[in-house]
Symmetry: C2
Subunit: 215 residues, 2 copies
C-alpha cells in the first residue's frame, strides 16, 4: 500500500478536513476560500475538488464527524454503570479531553452551524439533542429537585457553556491545562447544583414582545 506523500484517498480526505477545520475556525466559513484550503493542504484547487464536491461538503463532514464522535463518547460512558455524579464527572472529563484534541472542529460545530442547510442542521442538531439529553438525565437523576424545577436542560446548557467557552480563551499551548480545568468545572457544577431553586415563573403573557422584522 502507498504511504508518505502519496497518501491514500481516505487519509488525504482526513488531512483536508483537519486543515479546513482549522481555517474555518480561524477565519469563519464564509471568510475561508477554497484556494486557502487547497494551499494549506499543498494541493491545487482542482485536486481539492477531487476529494470533496464543494466547500459546503467540507463543512458538513467537519460538523457531523465531530458530533458523532461526541455521541459515541456519551454512549461509552452510559455503559459504564457509574453512579450519577461519577457519570457526570466522567462525561465532563471526556468532553474536555475530546474538545482539546479537536478544538478546531469543535469551534466549527459551535460557530458555523448557522451555515448548514435545514436538512443537515436537523440531523446534526438531532444528534446534539441526544447528547444534551444524556447530560440532563444524569443531572436530574443525581439532583431530583433540579429535574422537578424543569432546570435539567437549562443547567446542562450552562454546563456546556462553561466547557465550550474554555476553548475560546484558553491558550492553545499545553493541552494539559484543559485537563486540569475539567475537575474545576465538575466541582463548580456539582457543588452548585444543590443550591439551585426553581426560577420565578413569569406571568403568562398573552404574547411576547413584537418580533423584530427579519431581513
Amino acid at each position: 500500500m502507498s504511504r508518505g506523500r502519496a497518501a491514500g484517498y481516505e487519509e488525504q480526505r482526513e488531512q483536508i478536513l483537519l486543515h479546513a477545520a482549522r481555517l474555518f475556525a480561524q477565519h469563519g466559513y464564509p471568510g475561508t476560500s477554497m484556494n486557502e484550503v487547497a494551499q494549506a493542504c499543498g494541493l491545487s484547487k482542482p485536486s481539492l475538488y477531487h476529494y470533496f464536491r464543494d466547500k459546503y461538503d467540507l463543512l458538513v463532514h467537519i460538523a457531523e464527524s465531530h458530533i458523532v464522535r461526541l455521541r459515541t463518547l456519551v454512549d461509552e460512558v452510559m455503559h459504564e454503570q457509574l453512579a450519577p455524579e461519577a457519570r457526570l464527572r466522567e462525561l465532563i472529563h471526556r468532553f474536555v479531553r475530546e474538545y482539546a484534541q479537536a478544538r478546531y472542529a469543535h469551534r466549527v460545530l459551535t460557530e458555523d452551524v448557522k451555515f448548514l442547510r435545514p436538512e443537515d442542521a436537523e440531523r446534526i442538531l438531532g444528534t446534539e439533542r441526544a447528547v444534551v439529553a444524556a447530560f440532563a438525565g444524569t443531572i436530574a437523576e443525581q439532583w431530583p429537585h433540579v429535574g422537578k424545577a424543569q432546570l435539567a436542560k437549562p443547567t446542562t446548557m450552562l454546563l456546556f457553556g462553561m466547557i465550550n467557552w474554555m476553548f475560546t480563551w484558553f491558550r492553545p499551548e499545553g493541552e494539559l491545562d484543559y485537563e486540569a480545568m475539567a475537575p474545576v468545572v465538575a466541582d463548580l457544577f456539582c457543588g452548585g447544583a444543590p443550591a439551585l431553586k426553581a426560577p420565578a415563573r413569569k406571568t403568562p403573557r398573552r404574547r411576547a414582545a413584537k418580533a423584530q422584522g427579519s431581513g
Copy 2:
C-alpha cells in the same frame, strides 16, 4: 429640528449599526455583504457609505460600543458599595439583561473579534480585560480560597461561558426568560464556589508541545 423619515445623522448611524449587528450575528462578518446591510436599512449602498467609511468601520463600532457599555455597567455596580456576593449577583443580573437587549452586538463581539485588526483588537480586548478583572476581584474577595488557588480568572471565564452560551441556544422570543436565568446562573456559581479546590499542577514541563504552524 427635522424628525421622521429624515432622521438625524446620529440617529441614522445608530439604526445602521443595529441592522449590521443583526446581519453579522446571523451570517458572520465575512458572510454579510454591504448590499444586504444597505437593503436592511432601506438605503442605497452609496448612502450607506455616507454614514460609514467601510464595512470594517461597522464592525469596530459594533464591538467597541458594546464593550464600552459593559464596562460602564461594571463601573456603576462597583460604585454601589455592595457586599461581594451581592455585587457579583448584581453584575450577573445586569450582564444578562444587557446581553438580552443587545444580543446581536454581543454575538458580534464574541464571534467576530477575530476579524479586528491588531490595533483595534488590542483596545477592545483591553476593555474586556478590565471587565474580567472586576468579576475576578469580586470572586476572590468573596471566596479567598478561590483567589489563593489562582482560580479567580479561570472561574470568571467559566461564569462568562454560562452567560454567553445562553444567547446561542435560548429562544429569541421573550427576553424575560433571560431574566429568569440570571439567578439560576448566580445560584449555581455562588453555590459551587465554596467547593472549588486547587487543580492538580502539572509537572513543570520544560516546554509545551511544539506550536502548530499558523496560516
